[in-house]
């Protein structure tokens, strides 16, 4: 022990230790950057592959080893893809459903969230816990009886089953908006009451305008999740003319296999609206995930 203590006092030992800790910091930094690139390529390469495949003709797809940049570049896959299946019809179907759902959610969730945050009433927080609890329910439990209900009123194969529930609130977005509403200062509400406003006025003139960031987040996520929804349309949209794009992509598969270059082109087009939305609204997008995750 004494030797070790004495050793630590020698100048060579301490400079060596400083040099080692500096070197190990450099090593960690380089390792970190290398890993950042390696993992980044895991995330990036599939996109490149997607783009590359969508620009190849059918024979170019089979060339081994595969070329990343096809020679020549074939842009016709995109025009072929949108005629191989009724692409625009499907896109229109999808967007109509999205529009209804977004409108329904904005109206219903903001009203309900107002009720849970800006008004005091007995049992309010208990009922809110119930709302949260419903988020844990698996969709499968209510799936079949819901189908039966809609089937009895002959609303299967319409967009009503996919759109109607949005007008009655959604636990996740009610939670999101309620948290946001709670952060709005009371003074504004009190001032409006002094001016003679009732709750609906406060909702419409005070809270909603202030809640724009949260509403934008709601719109973005509602749109994205409805746009990409598969199981709902699969169950309820039985005739091909009513299909959404999620369902329509199956049209590129056949008994003989798949039209891979067309499929890749179509998948890219399908993903495009989401990509554009993401790049324009990146901050709202990330903030939305963070607020719901950390609270």
């Amino acid at each position: 022990m004494q030797n070790r203590a004495a050793l630590k006092e020698t100048p060579n030992y301490s400079t060596a230790k400083i040099r080692w800790s500096k070197a190990s910091k450099k090593i960690s930094l380089i390792t970190g950057i290398v890993l950042l690139f390696l993992v980044g390529s895991f995330f990036f390469l599939p996109w490149l592959w997607l783009l590359s495949s969508s620009l190849k003709t059918l024979d170019q797809i089979f060339i081994q080893p595969p070329q990343w940049i096809p020679k020549p570049i074939d842009w016709s896959n995109f025009s072929k893809a949108i005629t191989y299946i009724p692409f625009f019809q499907y896109m229109a179907n999808t967007l109509v459903i999205c529009a209804f759902v977004v409108v329904g959610r904005v109206i219903s969730c903001s009203l309900v969230a107002y009720g849970f945050s800006r008004i005091r009433w007995p049992g309010r927080d208990f009922v809110f816990v119930l709302v949260l609890a419903t988020m844990m329910l698996p969709f499968q439990v209510s799936m079949i009886p819901l189908y039966v209900i809609f089937s009895r009123v002959h609303l299967v194969n319409t967009i009503v089953p996919l759109v109607l529930p949005a007008f009655f609130g959604d636990a996740f977005f009610i939670f999101l908006l309620r948290q946001f509403f709670l952060s709005i200062p009371h003074e504004l509400q009190e001032a409006a009451i002094i001016d003679g406003a009732n709750h609906f006025d406060i909702y419409w003139r005070v809270i909603l305008p202030l809640a724009r960031p949260a509403l934008i987040t709601l719109v973005i996520f509602s749109f994205l999740w409805t746009y990409t929804d598969f199981q709902g349309p699969l169950i309820y949209l039985t005739s091909p003319q009513k299909w959404t794009l999620s369902l329509g992509l199956r049209g590129y598969f056949s008994v003989h296999g798949a039209q891979w270059s067309l499929l890749m082109a179509a998948s890219l087009l399908f993903t495009l609206p989401g990509l554009i939305l993401f790049f324009f609204a990146q901050r709202s997008f990330i903030e939305g995930i963070v607020t719901t995750g950390l609270k």
Partner: protein
């Protein structure tokens, strides 16, 4: 009461779209309902047959448990590592963060189709890369032994939102803690294990539970991967991708055994509740909510 007026849309929605269906599905689970005929009461038959005579039930359950108990932790660890990588103080982090997160935007159907193509045994991205270093890759999604692990790899591609949540958590850890640890002589790994991981443990618990709930209901990806055009081919290859929600869907809408499917739904509900409760209970032991 104005309060109740404002939340009335939710109340109506809850009663019509949630409470009533849940009660009805419990009822259907005790019948042989098939939508075309009115339901006849058959008691516990559905449940008994499910547990004794239905091999696919156990197959579906074990596949789903595999994805939940192995796949979710793998995704969590991976997304945590990604968050650590993205938290480094380097320029152009915005660029990398975009790359890591953008895959979440892709519709699940498109992701599944893309990865089916990426892992194509002959001319896909992965096997072509492997072939260039003279490795004969497995057939990935076409091989019953590789199908689920390949699915987990695909799911790791989409963990962007989990990464965002972890990143936000990492940035909430006070830097003074790291500085005082460095003064004490802690190295990188020690800082990770004694400061970082304990302090973001509530986030890990949250991500774990939400991940598990998602895994138990996962439908779109396995459906698209194992055929996706015909309800009879679901679960290919050899049932290795037959997940619980897929088998449930098959029973309800392909075989129109809605009574049996309702029983399956209730079994799923119980399983999810048990798993969630167990995770929460044990979670309380390893999460720290305050800095000591």
């Amino acid at each position: 009461m104005y309060g109740i007026l404002f939340i009335s849309p939710w109340i109506i929605g809850f009663l019509v779209f949630q409470l009533y269906p849940i009660v009805m599905s419990l009822y259907y689970s005790f019948t042989n309902f098939s939508l075309i005929k009115p339901p006849d009461w058959i008691g516990l038959s559905n449940y008994i047959l499910l547990f004794t005579k239905d091999k696919n039930f156990y197959l579906a359950l074990s596949n789903t448990l595999y994805i939940a108990l192995i796949g979710v932790p793998v995704q969590l660890v991976f997304s945590f590592i990604c968050a650590l990588l993205l938290n480094q103080k380097i320029r152009s982090q915005v660029f990398f963060r975009t790359i890591y997160i953008v895959p979440t935007i892709m519709p699940a159907v498109a992701t599944a189709i893309l990865f089916r193509w990426v892992f194509n045994p002959e001319i896909g991205l992965v096997n072509s890369l492997l072939a260039s270093v003279h490795i004969n890759g497995p057939t990935w999604f076409a091989d019953p032994n590789w199908a689920k692990p390949t699915l987990i790899i695909m799911l790791c591609w989409t963990v962007g939102s989990t990464i965002i949540i972890y990143l936000a958590g990492l940035q909430g850890v006070p830097t003074e803690l790291y500085e005082s640890a460095e003064i004490e002589g802690a190295n990188g790994l020690q800082k990770l294990g004694f400061i970082t991981i304990p302090l973001i443990s509530p986030i890990t618990l949250f991500n774990l539970i939400t991940g598990l709930i998602y895994a138990f209901q996962m439908f779109t990806e396995p459906f698209t991967l194992s055929g996706g055009t015909d309800a009879s081919t679901l679960g290919r290859p050899q049932g290795s991708l037959l997940f619980y929600s897929i088998y449930l869907y098959q029973n309800a809408f392909y075989f129109t055994r809605m009574g049996k499917a309702s029983a399956m739904a209730w079994v799923l509900l119980v399983v999810i509740m048990i798993v969630t409760l167990v995770t929460l209970r044990t979670g309380n032991r390893w999460t720290n909510y305050e800095i000591r």
